[in-house]
Amino acid sequence: MRVVIVGGGISAVYLANTLLQKDPASEVLIVSDESHPPYDRIHLCALVEKSQCVESITLDLDPRVRLELNQAVLSIDVSSKRIISAHAAFSYDKLIIATGSQPKAPFDIQGIKNASTFRCEKECAKIEQGIIGKNVVIVGVGPIGLELLDTLMRSPYPQSITLLARKEHLYSSDLSREGIALLRGIFEQDPRIRIDFNDEIVSKKVCKDEIIEIQTRNRTIDNLFLIFGAGIDPHVSFARDVLECDKGILVDDTMRTSNPDIYCVGEAAQLHKNGFIAGRVKECTLQADVAVETLLGLERKTFEQTVSIDGLKVGSFLFADVRSPSYDLKDSDNETILITHKNRIDQYIISHDRLQRFIGINTNIDLIHLKKLMEKNETIDPAYFYSNRLNSGKGRLVCSCESVYEEELIEIIKLNAITSFVELKPYSNAGRVCGRCKQDISALIAATPVNHEEAARLREERENKLKEAELERVRARINKYNTIHPKNQLSAENLEEAIASFDMSREFNQWVSMITATMHLHPDFENVVNEGVKQLNKIPIIWLELSDCSGNSEGFIKSSHPKIDDLILKYISLDYHELLMAGSGEQSENVLDNIIKYDSGKYVLIVEGAVPLGLDGKFLRIGPKGETGHALLQRVAKDAAAVIAVGSCAYDGGVVAAAPNPTGAVGVSEALGRKDIINLPGCPVNPINIVGTLLHFMMFDEFPKLDAKNRPEWAYSFLVHDNCERRGHFDLGDFVLEWGDEGAKKGWCLFQMGCKGPYAQMNCPQVKFNEGTSWPVQAGHGCFACGAGKIAFDEYANNRPLPKESHE
């Protein structure tokens, strides 16, 4: 499925990462109008003061996500499912709008060099350059305006800074007078700063591209730089024609818009039922979770507003705001309790005996506790707040998303000798959810001295313990395996011969390493794999060929790691395989019957080929009694410990089931009506994927981690296109346009020649074929997604690009 996300902010990145995490098979494209990959808008102030550059606040984006920058979306064509920008069109199966909002400006400042809004990285550069030696005027007293003011006051460059407040409050209209006075006092300690209440711009003089002078109610300011941090509007103009909108795009509580294939989250979305528009990162990520779950058809969740915690960490004071979703500014029953102490203010707003909001300045109240009080929605005793028992004892709350307090963090830092934000990751997720406190935590890490030697010792101790536990787990699995397969235990009688038959040559060690690496196991597992391999020889394997071409068997005997002679003589016991076994007719039937009888529940069944169901299954008959292929499969599969379907035909019928499916062929899973069949599609499957899967199953007596189509993730969770050796040419737009042309001789991208690598989930580019000799793209032909099953033979097996709308 191709999901296109419009927008270049935190929501877009969170959406893309979550999507790929939940469904690695989906194809995700982000279309953004900015020229930088998505970055964390919360840290824009840091860009202005140049403590960070845009690269350092860039968000972590899954590398599988495709990114289209400088593409401002102009319209949506819902009938052909495309979005259109000035330069390009992008088709989607599902579209998610996460365009956020646009800053408001009271008059048009396009082209004016000394005025700016404050929303993106470009504007930061403009502000940083523009304020030098100027009288800076900031319009807007909300969190954005205040944070900007705090940033600029630390800069030596502005000559003066004026904050224009239309009314008589700061931050929000319900902040107490005492709070306002405290904030104002803190800011105005700087003689360059002036906060003007009840003031606004009434006229301006513009000359060419510059505002020469503004007139406010109270004064005239010249030599100025003007910044609007006043308010924001949902950025949805491009969608108004095709989607139901009010202020934002109207969505239901699963974040779906009026078009079932289009979703909207974050500041651009407005809930239909109550008009709510998200403003905080936490709300945006909750909405993104809901949208992704709904879009993928997983568990159906709906978006509910939750208690929000905001922390404004500015240089000169700490600010905290906890708000219940039921808080109503205009509720006449609202009652404020104010507790002040020196430069600390705790402001509680209570309505109907329930805590609705808390605003704290330089407070040490346990915010998480307050949040819980709001969530419980029980009546409270106001006296409780006066007793000031809410101090957490763990310092201030640093990360409200992860509920991590300052003291806790310092302990983690010391214990693990953490010296950078990156090193913190294994121990705490603090600072990584909304990202607001990331800088704060970095500062905390820098300020906390650590003892490296002690920490190194602790670390090693912990790693050893972990490794020990891991190995213990694996040993337990092998023991479990031995108990389950008692017949395969080495006994005193054959011990010596059996051990002798495992020639522990260099080559053996090599392929053990190879398999360990291919299966993405830690190198320490090599010994365990080694042990597992010894056991393999004792497991009977039945390989049935049904409606097939023997291509997978032929491929299997081309196995390189290990080579086929070692494989069948030393490592596996291939007891029944029509292509290779010595006996025929009665002799081979006896072998089969004996395995089913004596090794019931122990043997592994590998099936190659489709199962024809037409003509009562009589398109295929096997054995002296003329049993149908279907009946034989059912008989042998019944008592198998595991059934592995190799090749695309066994997966879903493959080429044999291609239209018009003359013999009514289906895959093994469908023929048996079972969902526990391991699928290894491919035409043919790469033998390394068979060997790896066998090994995993036999070592651990459990399937390797499987995806939604029951294919082992270690082999099938990669898009051919992503790992293609010609991917660089795709990105550069270097395409082969005709067989044998100059591009073909240079090994350019085969997309225009119908390569279906972008639709194929296989590990071919990594492991290649015939001992890594080549693969279809290297041979200049391109991929046709042979592992996709029958659809490959109906839609992909050609040398033409897919029509845009036809693929999933």
Binding site: K563, L574, G614, G626, P660
Partner: protein, 561 residues
């Protein structure tokens, strides 16, 4: 005189689902035989209505063993229909891949699919290694991996394998059967090469993949040429290819050919008795031309072992009929017009074939009304008869070394001998094709594709791709209407050899060759397997049908009785 019927199903160590039924008299001599293909897939029906340019990738899936040749024949049939001549380089690259496949196929066939009919592993375990070294030296002065130490380690490997419990693939073989003729030492020499051959076939597959992307199911052909131009222009890749082929040639010279001579000697009596001899009708279409205008294989048809009466091969004399096959139309027709409707008459209640009626999914192709045997033996005999500069010297040398005459090749052992000689010829001449390629590139001919504009090609046409492939003559026939495949038909080598009876009662090649075979032990019919395996059956290739009306097969009626 009472007769008994023996059913052998599945025939293992072949590609596909084949059943053989034989009738034996009191002396356990085969008096009648039936060969039956037991799987029907209908790939041609799937091909109908598709873009002719796409046919190759689907037709390729007819067989994963003869994997490259159906791909090539299909693409060539479409090129023939559109009268597209491909560049020389493309032809050479195609030949390099196909001939490497011949070599690989013949090696796998002899050692892994066939040799266990002659080689007794249990006997090899009792071999005296120093004696074995000397015995191998009787057939070549430097036999392949023939040190005493190495043979000891092979024996050790087999020994520990047997003692450790499970016999895997070797379980329930025909070990100890009285018709095994090799001594313990000769068995050991063969088992040694059985294991080495596993590696060699793996290495040849690497050579094939250099130009074909992968094998089985290569992906390097398109209508008009080949795609692996980067590999073709890379000297390192050409060098790697030559290196791998050289290693293979070494194996053929020092293992495959000497082992075959050993086999001919041990089974001399069987050869002279004519065990496995068929009708003596052989057919070849020839092909694989060098720059020097010579070609690798000659074409021609001869009947009844009359080696002095050879006629030229004329594809229009090929017909197919289905009077004893599970299809409706019984009259012989040309493959372009073949219009067959499945008509499944089932098996008897005890699971045996209805040997008086229809009994196989394989149809009966005939040449001028006659049954034909195709494959290496046909090519080698026709080559000698036509005095081929390529084939005759190799055959003369082999006959001189073994004392065989031309008619001796028309036997079970003889088919194998012909196959071994052919493997060596193909391998040696790969070097000639490679030097043709290098010559072209040296003079800046880098063409790999002939340009055409599909939309301007005729919307109706027909064409054929007929090739010598490892098991014999392969023909793909395509009829195009409205720029789509209207009719598709394949006549594969095994269709010829595994053919059932026809309306006149002529037995197919397998069937004919089984008559008169004496079984030592009717419970373990090893002699039957030998005859059948000597043809190298490939049943996935053999079963084909087309219904031009595109009816659904699953709705076809099943006869009541």
């Amino acid at each position: 005189m009472s007769k008994r019927k023996i059913v052998i199903d599945p025939i293992t160590r072949i590609e596909g689902h084949l059943r053989i039924e034989v009738e034996v008299n009191e002396e356990n001599i085969v008096t009648d035989a039936w060969a039956s293909g037991q799987l029907f897939r209908g790939i041609e029906i799937i091909l109908q209505g598709r873009d002719p340019r796409d046919a190759g990738l689907i037709a390729q899936r007819i067989c994963g063993v003869c994997t490259n040749v159906h791909y090539r024949a299909s693409i060539s049939a479409v090129e023939d229909a559109y009268e597209i001549t491909i560049p020389q380089n493309a032809e050479i690259v195609r030949n390099l891949v196909t001939l490497s496949l011949f070599v690989q196929d013949h090696i796998i066939h002899y050692y892994h699919l066939h040799s266990l009919d002659f080689v007794d592993i249990t006997s090899a375990l009792t071999a005296d290694c120093s004696k074995a070294v000397k015995i191998a030296q009787q057939y070549h002065e430097r036999p392949y991996r023939n040190s005493e130490g190495h043979l000891e380690s092979v024996k050790e490997k087999l020994n520990s394998f047997v003692k450790a419990g499970r016999l895997g693939l070797f379980a329930n073989g025909y070990w100890g059967h009285e018709s095994y003729r090799l001594t313990p030492e000769e068995n050991l020499v063969h088992m040694n090469h059985y294991l080495e051959a596993l590696r060699i076939q793996h290495d040849i597959s690497k050579a094939i993949a250099i130009f074909a992307g992968k094998t089985p199911h290569p992906q390097n052909l398109v209508v008009g040429g080949v795609t692996s131009v980067v590999d073709m222009l890379n000297p390192q890749r050409l060098n790697d290819f030559m290196f791998l082929i050289k290693e293979t040639r070494d194996f053929l010279e020092r293992a495959y050919i000497p082992d075959m001579k050993m086999m001919v000697k041990a089974y001399e009596e069987s050869i002279k008795m004519g065990e496995g001899r068929g009708s003596g009708n052989f057919m070849c279409c020839g092909g694989y031309q060098f720059a020097s205008k010579e070609q690798l294989f000659e074409s021609g048809v001869l009947t009844g072992h009359k080696f002095d009466e050879i006629e030229s091969f004329d594809p229009s004399k090929i017909t197919e009929e289905a009077s004893r096959s599970w299809y409706e139309h019984d009259l012989p027709r040309s493959p372009y017009d073949q219009k067959t409707v499945p008509f499944y008459t089932d098996l008897n209640e005890d699971g045996t074939l209805k040997s008086e009626g229809k009994y196989s999914w394989v149809k009966a192709p005939r040449y001028g009304g006659k049954v034909m045997e195709v494959g290496p033996v046909a090519r080698m005999i026709v080559g000698v008869v036509k005095n081929s500069k390529v084939i005759k010297p190799y055959m003369d040398r082999f006959m001189k070394d073994t004392g065989m005459t031309l008619i001796d090749f028309s036997t079970t052992i003889g088919r194998n001998a012909a196959r071994a000689v052919e493997a060596q010829i193909c391998c040696d001449y790969l070097f000639d094709f490679m030097s043709d390629l290098i010559e072209n590139i040296k003079y800046y001919d880098e063409e790999t594709w002939t340009k055409y504009v599909f939309e301007t090609l005729p919307s109706a046409s027909k064409g054929a791709g007929i090739f010598e492939v490892p098991r014999g003559v392969l023909g793909h026939f395509v009829r195009i209407e409205d720029a789509k495949v209207a009719n598709y038909q394949v006549v594969a080598p095994t269709t010829w050899n595994a053919s059932p009876r026809d309306a006149t009662g002529q037995l197919g090649a397998y069937e004919e060759s089984l008559i008169g075979i004496k079984l030592a032990d009717s419970e373990r019919p090893l002699e039957v397997l030998r005859v059948i395996h000597s043809f190298d059956p490939c049943l996935a290739c053999a079963v084909h049908v087309i219904d031009t009306k595109g009816r659904e097969l699953s709705r076809y009626k099943i006869s009541a009785s």
